[in-house]
Symmetry: C2
Subunit: 257 residues, 2 copies
């Protein structure tokens, strides 16, 4: 009698395991299919950006991780359009994230969309990896976004410029303290790129340094491109710089002659 029961339990456990495995596989396949059907993202953001509250976006990310943010982004057809510069082919997502986000913030800032909020949404859409190659990085909202992604298991790597990383308000120290890998040059020319690669699929690049001064005051542009070839070339450039700026290559004392 006992033997039979254990067999039943074992069989049930195996069936449950198989069912869960199958479910995971089917869900993954459905997600891949959906992603395949979605047209590639193409957008241009122009700055200066209106100053808007971005708490809602970061709250969504904190509460539910990349999945919740992605779900929020895909939630509603009420997605507001990009601020004046979206390409015809650009999909409405991730515009809906703000609408679907908790609206408890009572701060006096406007809570609509802006170039900054859209940039944040693209960065926050990372699920597995984020490569940042930034001359200057001091904007606190973008800093928090990158920090949150790191906490949620996204592999974040940062390359930056040695002259600007230690300036007042730089986010680099904070990110390093949080355990994010950062590499930098040693002063021969500037590391002047301003690009990010999300999940090895989306390229974010342009003239914009990730500083509040630039975001709120400068004339700037940022292209969002989902194109295999462009992403591959920028990823190769990132890996070249990542290897070149490997700390084992740093020179700390002048060579004897």
């Amino acid at each position: 009698m006992w033997r039979l029961r254990w067999q039943t339990v074992g069989l049930a456990a195996v069936s449950l395991g198989l069912a869960l495995e199958t479910l995971g596989f089917v869900l993954g396949w459905l997600r891949r299919q959906r992603r395949r059907r979605r047209p590639p993202r193409r957008e241009v953001l122009f700055f200066p950006s209106q100053v808007t509250c971005t708490e809602a976006l970061l709250q969504v990310q904190r509460q539910g991780g990349p999945q919740a943010a992605a779900a929020a982004a895909a939630a509603g057809p009420e997605a507001r359009r990009a601020p004046g510069a979206a390409l015809a082919a650009a999909p409405p997502a991730p515009g809906a994230a703000l609408a679907a986000a908790p609206s408890g913030c009572l701060c006096p800032l406007p809570h609509g969309e802006s170039s900054l909020s859209r940039l944040l949404q693209y960065v926050l859409s990372a699920r597995s990896s984020l490569e940042l190659c930034l001359f200057a990085f001091s904007n606190p909202q973008l800093g928090r976004a990158v920090h949150l992604l790191h906490q949620q298991g996204v592999r974040v790597r940062v390359v930056t410029d040695c002259d600007y990383m230690a300036l007042n308000g730089s986010q680099i120290g904070r990110l390093r303290k949080a355990g994010i890998q950062v590499r930098h040059d040693q002063g021969a020319g500037y590391m002047h790129h301003k690009f990010a690669i999300v999940d090895k699929k989306m390229l974010i690049t342009g003239s914009l340094n990730w500083t509040t001064q630039a975001i709120q005051n400068n004339r700037e542009n940022v292209l969002i491109v989902e194109d295999e070839e462009y992403v591959r070339l920028f990823l190769e450039e990132f890996e070249r710089i990542w290897e070149e700026f490997n700390p084992v290559n740093y020179t700390f004392f002048p060579q004897r002659k």
Copy 2:
């Protein structure tokens, strides 16, 4: 007898005129067809660029105008490839311009291709218009290229930043003296774009300021994109800035309160 002769001469003149008109039309049609068949240009240039001699490119442009440069660019299948970063879909032209150019230069610099020479070739391919929206512009080769295009009747318009236009080595003063229209901001934030639009068809944009320091020393990127939507958005941004920076809007003295 005289009347008959004049009639013959008149008829011949009219026929000649019609033939020339038809020839022009046919040539234009052929050129348009050829341009339609050519795949859109897509390339990424990474910097720092190797220091190479670019005299040959500027000589071609000086001797024969845009047509000669374009012909030289399309001349040979021996076109050397871009320096390591061309997209698969990028056409070999304008790589052949250097090969087809006069090779009389005896300077000690290498005479091959570089990211700078490719950038120059794309700029020099302008035939009707060139919009420049540049934070800083001090590279003499690019300055000469823009000057030459202006001399050959290309409509050049420049928008730049007021803080950087008067620095040592800036090309802005030279271009203004040559009669090129330049407009600038009045100090509220930087005009930090770094893009050019060639013939309202090709967008050149990235992190690169057009300075020799950046070209030779910095890690930089420049995208070359022939895409109607991207070009339209950047052209709209240019026209917005062009109007906003119209000298009639400049404030020369503080307002009375």
